[in-house]
């Protein structure tokens, strides 16, 4: 291989990485708009979040095409191979986060037509926690930082706990006054979507860790942390 080819291969990889970062930026902006729509009862922000989805899908396709071309023509090895795979995987996770943000924004539009309830502030706070996770994990991706990724991965439990707590509170509201069921269901789905976004961030964290260290985070998972497997107490409902 001539030096020129090697250099241009490096450039191609870097451009792929920059594209993932760009997609991350779009997902961040869309998610931020969705949370803003909930927190500030801002339907314009909600429309922005719903509209932002198309561009994200477009970039995801471009990332896939470029990565495939790289795999087929360059047959990358070791860290280069892992970086290429990481780009494809991360793009898929970001696309899901975009979808969830869109769904949150749609529900925000419904919520904004109803009288304000304090619980939306709890949701906004949970959303901020997920936003923080997304930012940190994208930073970890850009900086190729496995420790940062691991920290994100370890922090996901906090969001799950807020979700469990909100879930219980919403159940009590619905049991007390069945007229609130419609509204509470929307709030419940928003909470679930935020929680799912947090999970996608942990998935990206695993991808980043694998890209940098070539090992798997999931295998070293501390057993004490079982929040993501904890079943929500169904008996409260019965």
């Amino acid at each position: 291989m001539t030096e020129h080819t090697v250099k241009s291969f490096g450039e191609q990889l870097e451009a792929l990485s920059a594209l993932v970062a760009q997609m991350g930026g779009l997902a961040e902006a869309q998610f931020a708009a969705a949370i803003e729509a909930i927190a500030r009862r801002d339907s314009t922000a909600a429309e922005r979040a719903v509209g932002g989805d198309a561009r994200i899908d477009e970039i995801q396709q471009e990332i896939e095409e470029r990565a495939l071309k790289l795999l087929a023509l360059r047959q990358p090895m070791a860290v280069d191979l892992r970086e290429t795979l990481a780009a494809i995987k991360t793009a898929a996770e970001l696309e899901r986060i975009g979808d969830l943000a869109k769904n949150i924004a749609k529900r925000a539009m419904v919520l904004n037509r109803e009288p304000p309830i304090r619980l939306t502030q709890s949701l906004a706070r949970m959303g901020k926690a997920a936003q923080n996770q997304l930012k940190q994990v994208l930073d970890a991706f850009s900086n190729r930082n496995a420790e940062e990724a691991e920290a994100v991965w370890n922090r996901d439990g906090e969001i799950d706990e807020i979700y469990n707590s909100l879930f219980r509170e919403l159940l009590t509201y619905m049991m007390e006054d069945p007229r609130t069921i419609g509204l509470c269901t929307h709030l419940l789905f928003v909470a679930k979507n935020i929680e799912r976004s947090g999970d996608h961030c942990t998935n990206i964290a695993e991808v980043v860790y694998h890209m940098v260290r070539a090992g798997h985070l999931a295998n070293n998972r501390p057993k004490a942390d079982t929040t993501s497997e904890t079943a929500v107490p169904y008996e409260t409902h019965a």
Binding site: G25, A29, K128, I162
Partner: protein
């Protein structure tokens, strides 16, 4: 000196004067705002002069250099570095050539030679930078939502064609946006939370004027309740005001250096009497040589007063509130532990939400406003620390505040700018 001056081409004279004045302004800028402004203006003129025009005037870099930064004379670079607003220079590939100290503070360290899209993912700003590369200047809003929400107006414009250099300037609008938002929040919270006690008070006034007019026993009882309700309103207003004040400055790093032990002791001393009423002993246990932290003394005292006050409120009667101060890898911590009933695990993640109460009735009885831990959370966040809450039902709760240890004191804070005469 005369010799070197003679070597200057004639059209460079206004610049020499500008630069001398600029340098002098930077030297004296410290204490007064006026000189700061003068320095800023001159800095802007200098940047324009040096970067816009290709011809090196006081500095003669390698004309064919690949490094566009070589065109920046040291003084200009120094001015850019010290300019009190985030500045970034980018090349044609949108790679970061230079980021000054304020930009590094906003976006994090290690920006050099990275692509704009990986350090600043905001799509609108990236579009503005791309537009600037095509010769269109643009300004777009930029919001950084986490960890502390900050708002900027981002300006991107091309300042040199060959070599290609784009400048990105951020204008900090956080204070303005925050004050708008806080006003709205304050009114919403105040009107909502004050409604209940206000309704109670006006209800009792009506009763005292009407049916209970001559009932001495009821009058005493009602006046007692009214006193409690007004006290509650006063506490609520105080807490709302201090929350607003803290939130206003949440994005500004605290400047002072304080020892956590003295802060904790000060907070504990203020609550000794209150603790004694419930027969609770407050014990402070501090490890030796705990490093100082960068912090605001008053805010930290308030933080620990709130935590200790909670521990007294929800602790066991005749129990002990124990405060431990220590260090753990690069961090300083203070843990406030009570031996009360503890908190259910489902409530813990939401304790710092404003107006969240585990037990509304009990909180009201104990004179809680539902804002104490929200205030704690915001103070911790301003100090870039972490709050950890652990609790065992039946055994008590521990609230631990972790704060980054302040770096060891450096004798001279920053190198003094080079004297201008030497540059000539």
């Amino acid at each position: 000196m005369l010799e070197s001056l003679a070597r200057l081409r004639s059209h460079a004279w206004p610049l020499v004067i500008g630069m001398t004045a600029g340098g002098a302004a930077v030297v004296f800028a410290g204490p007064t705002l006026f000189w700061g402004l003068v320095a800023l203006g001159l800095a802007a003129v200098l940047i324009m002069q040096f970067v816009t025009f290709q011809e090196p005037i006081l500095w003669s870099p390698d004309q064919n250099s690949d490094e566009p930064l070589a065109l920046l004379p040291p003084l200009t670079r120094l001015l850019l570095e010290r300019l009190p607003m985030p500045v970034m220079l980018l090349d044609d590939d949108e790679m970061v050539l230079f980021a000054n100290q304020f930009m590094r503070e906003v976006l994090g360290p290690g920006l050099d030679r990275k692509r704009a899209s990986s350090v600043l993912r905001n799509p609108e700003v990236l579009a503005a930078i791309a537009g600037a590369g095509r010769g269109e200047s643009a300004d777009v809003p930029l919001t950084l939502p986490v960890p502390v929400e900050r708002h900027f107006q981002a300006y991107a414009t091309r300042i040199s064609v060959a070599p290609p250099v784009t400048v990105l300037l951020l204008h900090d609008l956080t204070m303005v946006r925050r004050s708008e938002q806080l006003r709205a929040d304050f009114i919403a919270n105040a009107s909502h939370e004050l409604r209940t006690p206000l309704a109670a008070v006006s209800g009792f006034i009506e009763t005292l004027r009407g049916p209970a007019k001559d009932d001495t026993e009821a009058r005493e009882q009602f006046l007692e309740i009214m006193t409690n309700e007004t006290a509650r309103m006063r506490r609520l207003i105080n807490d709302l005001l201090s929350l607003s004040r803290i939130e206003m400055n949440e994005h500004v790093k605290p400047q002072g250096r304080v020892g956590l032990e003295s802060v904790v002791r000060q907070a504990a001393a203020a609550l000794k009497l209150l603790a004694a009423q419930d027969g609770i002993a407050v014990v402070v246990d501090a490890a030796a040589d705990v490093p100082e932290v960068n912090g605001d003394q008053d805010e930290l005292v308030q933080l620990f007063q709130n935590l200790i006050h909670n521990a007294i409120k929800y602790g066991r009667e005749n129990g002990t509130v124990r405060i431990m101060v220590g260090r753990s890898d690069g961090q300083v911590f203070a843990a406030v532990r009570d031996d009360g009933e503890g908190i259910a695990p489902s409530a813990i993640p939401r304790l710092t939400e404003r107006f969240y109460r585990v037990d509304v009735k009990r909180s009201r009885e104990r004179g809680g406003t539902g804002l104490g831990l929200a205030i704690v959370k915001h103070i911790v966040s301003r100090h870039q620390g972490r709050l950890s809450i652990e609790s065992q039902v039946g055994e008590g709760s521990t609230f631990t505040v972790f704060l980054p240890a302040a770096p060891a004191e450096i004798p001279a804070k920053a190198p003094a700018p080079e004297p201008v005469t030497e540059m000539l």
